[in-house]
Symmetry: C2
């Protein structure tokens, strides 16, 4: 219950990192792409196969270092249905390797439509009585602009199938303040959204006191991270913006509670492109990703 | 430029309706499902094939009555990658039949990730210099909670490829007021989001004075529709909530300008399930959808 499985995985690996799987084609070494294009064509299908091979190698190299991965749906939709097949295969493979999978889809809708997203990403699809898991992540990022009608349809599946969600509160981008920092009756929108996360999650709390309803709070806003950690004692934070976007280990320190729990920090580009930064043999791209993940682990655990 | 192609299609068909393609399996007649399950298995793939057949028949029956269709992405993700293949085929088929296609994905992210969504849904994907359109809608619904960083990456594609977006402002659901009606410095959030649509669209205005940046405003809030029509003279409204959600023709009248332009009204369930309501031969499901679309056209044009 709650996001216990994520917290346990973090405890076990002693590493509060989630590796973002945002496979832009220019992150992939050429040899991988050429191999896939030769076999499947220089097409969306070929690109999707290259991404699948890339992800598989990364997961193999990272699965004993990080507790979780976060595929970003946009980089799979980019390759059409073949990309979505790679997304489903990636999620399945990562789970088989013991990783907790957060599908970063920022999905949002209402009522039965939101139920469809919930079933697609966290639940099962009923086909005339037969049930199939379409994407089957452990957690899904969602956007709460539409109100409770967009969140409540997810909670049943979270309870029934031990899944979680992360609601966007204070995002890591420069323009996040345009709406999120504005005050409503004295409370910033991001904090009001955070308060809702506490309420939505109220009856889904697990062994560590954290609910199944997490919040996205950017590493690039360390003050708000600290403020929200205090304000939302039952809400796990998914923290983007570390590394490439400018957030450092000290910036994310405030995301954690006094037990060093309650947050998971995302890194995508720095891990995925470590082979470019190292200027190592491109064939060792997964090894470079692993070395960067170990460096990040040391960086984060030093401040906890 | 702007949403001219949509407005022209509405003018030509004399019908400001968009037919929502939200293919829940229980909306499909049994014979369609059985046929697909027999050929492709009672699986996600079989379901996706049944949905494709359903959509194809509906598009054939509706394409000379309505100017636009709006596939809801959730009901395609529900069938995994096979569902996404049906989404791509449906969009292609509808465009070939002269329909304007609004992909209802409510996508949202920032920077290069939002560029990936833009390329996937409105643009092209570059695979080593070869370019492929993954989903290729004419317009995409998006969520502006993340600020300008989430919207600006779409505008280049809108300009280059004559596409449009619809930003969620005041959604049709009962809980939409939880955030959207709250006031920031005296202005409700939905109106502030609408003001942003005007600014984001400023240099994309077309022949009718409307920009490429539209807004989603629910039929269930007729007062706000009227207020926003006044406030946002260059913003086309996509109006959900007519019919099944309780909005009537009088409720949506305020969405239109003095020339009867500036809005398109969605109906999903009433059109898709017309065969159930009529209790006609299920084999005539597409005919029933057409009759309901004609009824809705008469209903809407009577108040314009």
């Amino acid at each position: 219950m709650g996001l216990d499985r994520l917290i346990e995985a973090i405890d076990q690996k002693q590493n509060p990192t989630v590796a973002g799987l945002d496979p832009r084609l220019d992150y992939l070494p050429d040899f991988l792409k050429q191999r896939a294009y030769t076999e499947y064509g220089q097409t969306l299908e070929g690109a999707a196969e290259a991404v699948w091979e890339y992800n598989r190698c990364l997961i193999d190299a990272l699965c004993d270092v990080v507790p979780a991965v976060k595929p970003q749906a946009a980089y799979y939709e980019l390759y059409g249905w073949a990309g979505m097949r790679t997304l489903a295969k990636t999620i399945r493979y990562a789970k088989d390797k013991g990783l907790f999978v957060i599908t970063d889809g920022k999905r949002n809708d209402i009522g039965t439509t939101m139920e469809a997203y919930a079933a697609a990403h966290l639940g099962e699809t009923d086909v005339g009585g037969e049930r199939f898991a379409a994407f089957d992540g452990d957690a899904l990022t969602v956007n709460g602009y539409l109100g409770s009608d967009g969140i409540l349809p997810l909670l049943d599946i979270c309870k029934q199938r031990d899944r979680g969600i992360f609601v966007l509160c204070k995002t890591s981008n420069p323009g996040s303040g345009e709406l999120q920092d504005k005050r409503i009756d004295g409370t910033p929108v991001y904090a009001a959204m955070g308060d809702r996360c506490e309420r939505w999650g109220e009856d889904t709390r697990g062994a560590f006191g954290y609910s199944a309803v997490g919040a996205v709070v950017g590493a690039t806003y360390p003050e708000q991270l600290r403020e929200l950690r205090e304000r939302l004692p039952h809400t796990v934070f998914l923290v983007p913006g570390y590394g490439a976007q400018g957030g450092g280990a000290k910036d994310v320190a405030g995301a954690f509670d006094q037990n060093g729990r309650g947050a998971v920090v995302n890194s995508s580009r720095a891990i995925l492109c470590a082979w470019k930064k190292e200027e190592c043999d491109p064939a060792d791209f997964a090894g470079a990703a692993r070395r960067e993940a170990l460096r990040m682990k040391a960086d984060l655990t030093a401040v906890l």
